[in-house]
Amino acid sequence: MKNEVLIDVKHLTHLFQLTKKMKVRAVDDVSFQIRKGEIFGLVGESGSGKSTVARCLMNIYQPTKGEIWYHDVNVCDKKEARKNKKMLQTRRQMIFQDSASSLNQKMKVADIIAEPMKIQHVTPKRGSFRKEAAFQMEYVGLDESFLDRYPSELSGGQRQRVAIARSLSMEPEFLAADEPIASLDVSIQAQIVNLFRHLQQEHGFTFLFIAHDLAMVEYLCDRVGVMYHGKLVEMADAEELFANPVHPYTQTLLSAIPVPDPIRERKRVLRTYDGEELENSEWTEITPGHFVLLPHSESGKGVQS
């Protein structure tokens, strides 16, 4: 089951038009696959195009070029997307970074969680919308007393859980989580990450997990893609990537992970990467499942250790 491809992104490119002549290449020729039941991590610094990829996957942006296949539907094709609108909207859900701004301040938690079901005209399985909402709340580890509260009355971690409960209410098979833990405390981050783990292992959810906290990515994700300036520069299984990073930018990122150990931490040397040689590079598979964007001259040389 693990090898079945759920999402296939082919040569995705997205340009933002700034002025008549200026364009920003937010995502530049990115290809990757997300398999069923895995957590795919996307890392990179801010402005590297991670969120744009997620938004293209969710049909929030219409990509300039490229294809995104979800099962056998090309979601970039407007006609096809419209034909399968209901399927796409119920099976894919997104969790946004800032739960304070992605939840309606004027709605109670119960209504927020039930809203997707009302929009999609889904009959609640458990009798009423409220019962359904209570069930989802329990699922993410909040009790029923929160149902009648407003988002402003909740703490950051609780709010993020409500956002997750809302996305789960449609019982999707794919969740795109755009930096879901970036603004939370360490101990609450751990709660949310445990919840994701649980959802994946017990219920077979597929995740796209976007983050810049590499320590969490290493812990949570099965496969990881590294983005830099709109390009995917390296992709591999999490273990392989963290043990054996090849691209200089990946090495830079890994060297920046903080270690809770003062003596080792002070000795740690930061690497820098200035993005040279990004042009004229080729997407090369150096070991099975480990892809790197290598300059033309170097590709074929194999792994340097």
């Binding site: 360490v186 783990r197 810049h212 812990y219 809770p260 003062p262």
Partner: protein, 336 residues
């Protein structure tokens, strides 16, 4: 060495609608010249409030109910706003969490830094101010200061903006720099650069720094000493080595265990059960007791005093009482 800042038994309360909120409870610590003290804790534990009460930037409804703050041996607890204004900038200045909201988006960066320079040195000429601004921009690592002088905050990336905020904070050579979660809004690579910059500046200028953070991993790189705060109190304080390799308070254990670095290969991350208590009516006894798996009966009854472990290492937990059962620390002790 001379104590630059000394806070003794400080308590701060805010009068809210639901009653008096005790945001800082009986906090004592000191800061030496050229030292980096990190304050770590969950959100809402009073870290920011502690910094703000030292700088007297508290909201009008807040008041200092007990204790004293002294800077260079001088008691500033009773200082009025006007006297505090003379101290702010020169004696202590602050770097805020979000560089976007700390800068004015409609004013050029150079001018914003110049403003801080002029306020502290009213007699200097235009040329002197300009030179000082360029100097400051170079100090915090902004390249091409002459061109960047004329740019607006939105033309800067997050890391560069944070550097500008630091330049403003350093305009009058402060003795103490408060950095309130300076890297939370930044991503990993930039975070490390900013932390290195903090360290570098502290080496160059001898500025003492109080670094507020919620992440023990981040703090390890720069801190000389670490204070762990919980529910308005400092529960453990010691040098970085002592706190990381020999933590004594169960809350410090919890914070450390919830880092993914300690969960490699484990099924799930450790989470501290429950929620931090509200500080309107703080629980009797140890505020951490109800979340603490090692809690003793006395924890629910009486507040633990600060137990001394070494000259510099203190922790407030009954586990350190000679009568308490011996409990092996679940973490730490991995000295290299």
């Amino acid at each position: 060495m001379e104590q630059l800042l000394e806070v003794k038994n400080l308590s701060v309360s805010i009068d809210g609608l639901a009653g008096e909120v005790q945001v800082v409870r009986d906090v004592s610590f000191s800061l030496k010249k050229g030292e980096v003290l990190a304050i770590v804790g969950e959100s809402g534990c009073g870290k920011s409030m502690l910094c703000k009460s030292v700088m007297k930037l508290l909201p009008p409804s807040a008041r200092i109910t007990n204790g004293s703050i002294s800077v260079c041996g001088q008691d500033i607890t009773g200082y009025r706003e006007k006297e505090m204004q003379n101290l702010r900038g020169k004696t202590f200045s602050m770097i805020f969490q979000d560089p976007m909201t700390a800068l004015n988006p409609t004013i050029k960066i150079g001018k914003q830094i110049a403003e801080a320079v002029i306020i502290h040195n009213k007699k200097s000429s235009k040329e002197e101010v300009y030179q000082k601004v360029l100097e400051l921009m170079e100090l915090v690592g902004i390249t091409h200061p002459k061109e960047r002088y004329h740019q607006y905050p939105w033309q800067f990336s997050g890391g560069m903006r944070q550097r500008c905020v630091m330049a403003i904070a350093l305009a009058a050579d402060p003795d103490i720099l408060f950095a309130d979660e300076p890297t939370t809004a930044l991503d990993v690579t930039i975070q490390a650069q900013i932390l290195d910059l903090l360290r570098e500046i502290q080496m160059k200028l001898g500025t003492a720094t109080i670094l507020v953070s919620h992440d023990l991993g981040v703090v390890a790189r720069v801190a000389d000493r670490v204070a762990v705060m919980y529910a308005g109190k400092i529960v453990e304080i010691g040098t970085a080595e002592e706190v990381y390799y020999d933590p004594r308070h169960p809350y410090t254990w919890g914070l450390m265990k919830s880092l993914p670095a300690f969960a490699r290969g484990k099924e799930s991350l450790y989470t501290i059960p429950g929620m931090p208590p509200t500080l309107i009516n703080p629980p009797k006894g140890d505020a951490y007791a109800c979340r603490n798996e090692y809690a003793l009966n006395i924890d629910y009854e009486e507040m633990p005093p600060m137990f001394q472990i070494t000259d510099t290492h203190y922790a407030a937990t009954w586990l350190l009482d000679p009568r308490a059962p011996k409990i092996e620390s679940p973490i730490g002790g991995r000295k290299h």
